[in-house]
Amino acid sequence: MPENLFKINAKEYILPGTRACQGCGLSLAYRYALKALRENTIVTLPASCLCVLHGIYPSTPVMIPCLNNSFASTAASASGLVAGLQAMNRTDITVMAIAGDGGTFDMGIQSLSGAAERGTDFIYVCYDNEGYMNTGTQRSSATPLGALTTTTPIATKQQHKKDFIKIMEAHDIAYLATASPSYPIDLYDKFVKAKKIRGTRYIHLSIPCPPGWAYPPKDTVKMGRLAVETGISPLFEIENGRFRFTGRSKSMAEKGNRLPVINYLEKQGRFRKMNIEQLHQMQRWVDGKWQEYQRRAQEQ
């Protein structure tokens, strides 16, 4: 493993000129994911921000082969690629399915659950920007409590985010990890590791989104860091049921220097209508999750 930036694969698989928004957290994360997976990879993705990043026909900035498919079918498409490659005796290729939280938490959950239950040999990546950002920031089941979206425009979202990682863990898959583009080495290492493991691997990317979260594009890395430092998006991996904090979250767990969620929430326009009760609820919710993770980390 690289452990520092100088050991990261220097080759770029995304040329300048993607159609992502300014300050897109996904483009950062995707860049490092492809560097880790390298050439012998096929990507499949649904209608999503990433589909837009991949460009308008007949040009694409991405040099890794990619199959676009319909919204609900990302993991189904990966299942087809894996079966087809097996039938064609091309078992050396890594298949990566990648979709947003809409294509994962909501519409794509059936095909993902099916593929994971079958132990399909692929990497599934959810880039979670906490809303239907490609269609203009509508509410998803990954949207946090108290966030304004264009379909919760006045009252804000009244429910907590779905704990999708728990759902994936319940499938007893080979490898599960969370990562953030604000911690590229941690992210890169996890993709390198995932590539070497057989079976279903799930990587959850916490992706800051300037237009959807309403913060200046220059603050993407900062926003990703705050998500980790407040414990909202902890960095960890679960291998064969063994939970392990990684990177910044690991040192936070050791030092106990987790920041209050307000430090993160106050910097994003989407939380401007969050009331004090919601703020407390959110803090309690994050505290509860963090304590659960800490318990699990100590059990190992």
């Binding site: 026909y57 991405v62 299942s79 091309r90």
Partner: protein
């Protein structure tokens, strides 16, 4: 040397897929297709068929698996019925739009709500405009032969093919079927060689977003827009009738069985009254024609084997001596009439020879329809036609409409 076995339509379809050396199968069980999914599992688990079987969690995934496996060059097969087919609807468009030679069996069943597990053709008829070739079989022999032919057709025109056969009437009914030898099928249908395979050696971004207009690529070459790609799908389907006919001829030459290509005819040489249908309905009509002939009515049958691409030219020729046409359909375009009736009327627009056309909706949700009842309906229409009644409202056969 013919190896004749007694089997169901589902077995015939499974053997057709096995003989076609399919490499990836993905199917989700649904009555009356389930047996087909089971037989293929048996073939693959026993090693009789070397293929990947993806035991998917739903039909939308079944077709998606076929789409993606086909994209990397595998020959793929799936099958479904009724609501399963409707659940695939989005991916039917995706498969045709991706120009992939997928073959699927649709074991025809009525569509809910309310639930029926029994046969009609509303399921596949409702998928008419998805860009798939649709072939309707009339017996189990034709099912086996058509699955093999379907791959030749699909891989020649790069369009998916739906092989339709009636649930229970064919899927669960035992009939003698001649099983061709595997090596001869392999000669007729060599392994699939895709013109494009998605691979790391040739990275592409397949099915990306398109703008409405044509755009230049990085080399300055003007490339298709969305509309040009749609036109090419249509052009491929317009080319398909000739391919279907040639495939049928070649198959007949090798295996000695001719299922008619785009359509088939029965006792039409001197016929005045034509009974028309698809699948087992058209088979039933041949018995009705026999009954009518005994009464002195010169009846014949035209079975429409291929519904899409619609064989307008061939049907115009088939009806050039008709004095009356009676169409029996196991489906309806709600708010109008049977889809086959509408399409046939359109095909005969400004044809030199015109004949009255009457339309009957029959056998929905497995409602029994006997040859005698078809004959009764056809006779009543014939008597009206002889009095000059060109058109009458679409009639629902064996249905209490009071």
């Amino acid at each position: 040397m013919n190896n004749v076995q007694i089997m169901t339509g589902n077995s015939a379809a499974a053997i057709g897929a096995k003989l076609s050396a399919v490499q990836v199968v993905a199917a989700y069980p649904i009555t009356p297709q389930s047996q087909l999914a089971e037989i293929l599992s048996q073939y693959i688990e026993s090693g009789e068929l070397k293929a990947e079987y993806v035991r998917v969690e739903g039909e939308h995934t079944a077709l998606t698996v076929c789409i993606s496996a086909s994209t990397v060059g595998a020959r793929v097969f799936t099958a479904t019925s009724a609501n399963g087919l409707l659940y695939m609807h989005e991916q039917l468009h995706w498969a045709a739009g991706s120009r992939l030679p997928i073959v699927m069996c649709c074991v025809n069943r009525g569509v809910g709500a309310p639930w029926t597990i029994f046969n009609d053709q509303q399921d596949s008829l409702a998928q008419r405009d998805t860009g798939w070739v649709q072939i309707y079989c009339r017996n189990n022999q034709e099912i086996l032969d058509t699955v093999i032919q379907a791959y030749r057709i699909a891989e020649a025109v790069y369009c998916p093919v739906m092989v339709c056969y009636d649930g229970f009437v064919l899927s669960h009914t035992m009939m003698p079927v001649a099983v061709p030898a595997a090596d001869r099928v392999r000669e007729f249908l060599p392994p699939y060689q895709a013109h494009t395979i998605l691979s790391p050696e040739d990275p592409r971004n397949l099915n990306p977003v398109l703008f409405p207009w044509r755009r230049e690529n990085s080399a300055g070459v003007l490339c298709d827009g969305y509309m040009e790609m749609r036109y090419k799908l249509q052009a491929a389907l317009e080319k398909a009738p000739a391919v279907i006919q040639a495939t049928n001829r070649d198959y007949a030459a090798v295996f000695g069985r001719d299922h008619g290509g785009l359509h088939w005819e029965y006792l039409t040489e001197d016929a005045e009254l034509y009974l028309v249908g698809m699948g087992s309905m058209a088979s039933e009509a041949t018995q009705a024609a026999d009954l009518l002939r005994k009464e002195g009515i010169k009846a014949g049958v035209v079975g429409v084997r291929v519904f899409r691409p619609f064989p307008a030219q061939v049907l115009r020729e088939a009806f050039q001596k008709a004095r009356g046409i009676v169409i029996f359909e196991k489906g309806i375009s709600y708010g109008y009439e049977g889809a086959l009736c509408s399409d046939l009327k359109a095909a005969l627009y400004r044809a030199e020879h015109q004949a009255p056309i009457h339309n009957y909706i029959a056998g929905l949700g497995g409602r029994d329809v006997k040859a005698r009842e078809l004959a009764d309906a056809a006779r009543a229409s014939w008597q009206a036609m002889e009095k000059g009644i060109y058109e009458q409202p679409t009639s629902w056969l064996n249905c209490f409409t009071g």
